[in-house]
């Protein structure tokens, strides 16, 4: 609120229409789903005219893809960079998600759009692969015997917890965390939890994927 909020008809009312549109997307798409959120409602929530919205995005599809791309997952970005935790603790921290998370939006988008070729679906795939890769990197760092396998397994647990939470309307992440603990204990040869600040670079998977296969 520095120089923004010019007036009822001012040129820019809150630093760019784009941001407001994407911000409204974050809320509405997650609360109501993608298909059930019309462009009219979304523009109204963003306080942006529909005409403007279609000058920033060629269509709803592009908007949905951007929405997913802009989604900054608290889990991913927050967990993997925490050098105060051991790799092993980092792996487990991936299951400590805040309870106010309705559903992994990537799964939701893939199911709702129902088209694997949709840009958003492609990004969802890329993202999920990236998460698994990051988990694998951390597993390797933790000294796991087969880090790729463990990463894939932990990723599956996260997705399972997300899906089950949605269907049952009850938090399933504690169960997933319990399984994760077992898997990690089995995979790491009962030794070598590396020091926290000893971060030899991860093998180098990007924090966020860009292209679509």
């Amino acid at each position: 609120m520095t120089e923004l909020e010019k007036g009822p008809q001012g040129r820019r009312r809150g630093r760019g229409a784009r941001e407001r549109i994407l911000s409204a997307s974050q809320q509405l798409f997650r609360e109501q789903g993608i298909n059930r959120t019309g462009m009219d409602q979304l523009c109204a929530a963003a306080q942006v005219s529909k005409r403007t919205a279609y000058q920033h995005f060629t269509g709803k599809d592009e908007l949905v893809a951007e929405y997913l791309r802009r989604f900054d997952p608290s889990v991913l970005s927050g967990v993997f960079d925490r050098t105060d935790l051991t790799p092993r603790e980092r792996l487990l921290a991936a299951f400590d998600i805040p309870p106010a998370t309705p559903l992994c939006p990537y799964i939701g988008a893939a199911v709702e759009l129902h088209d694997p070729q949709h840009p958003a679906s492609q990004y969802a795939r890329d993202y999920k692969k990236a998460v698994a890769a990051r988990l694998a990197d951390t597993a390797r760092e933790a000294g796991a015997a087969e880090p790729e396998q463990l990463g894939e397994q932990l990723a599956l647990l996260i997705d399972g917890a997300a899906a089950r939470t949605r269907v049952l309307n009850a938090d399933a992440f504690p169960t997933a965390a319990a399984i994760a603990a077992v898997l990690i204990d089995n995979a790491i040869p009962a030794s070598s939890p590396r020091q926290p600040s000893d971060d030899r670079g991860t093998t180098g998977s990007a924090p966020v994927p860009v292209g679509g296969e």
Copy 2:
């Protein structure tokens, strides 16, 4: 094809419109999703006039709920009754699903409908709970230390594999099966895989739930 198939305008053309409608639902809802399948298309596929459809079902919502209710999951009904397998093998067999399974329709319905109060969503919850209960029963039968916990964990693995398969467009059930094997080995105190035909009754969870909370 005994006395059915009367003619182009015969009174009954395949033993009841209801069956044909539900049969077409099984196919279309799974292939295309619920929201993307209109009643027009569905009625055309079922060779039933729209008017007739709405005399059998008060609306699409009821039809969707019936569709889920009639869904006979090959996994559930097939696996738990196989007395030729040990309980432990039965638990693992739950992950041997045929590769031609697009997505667990219960998850799909819960995500697509996006309303926990929808009859179909409620049934999906009940069904998922029933599966977990059956798994827990089998785990108990197999001599697991904490069967309820193991049942919930295996159920989470199944859901995770289903969700991940959908998002990644690649079969994730082998990974889930690998995890399941680890969990089962850890939970069963390295003894007592009961004889195949020794079926003392399971604790008694219904094969399919009926009411919705």
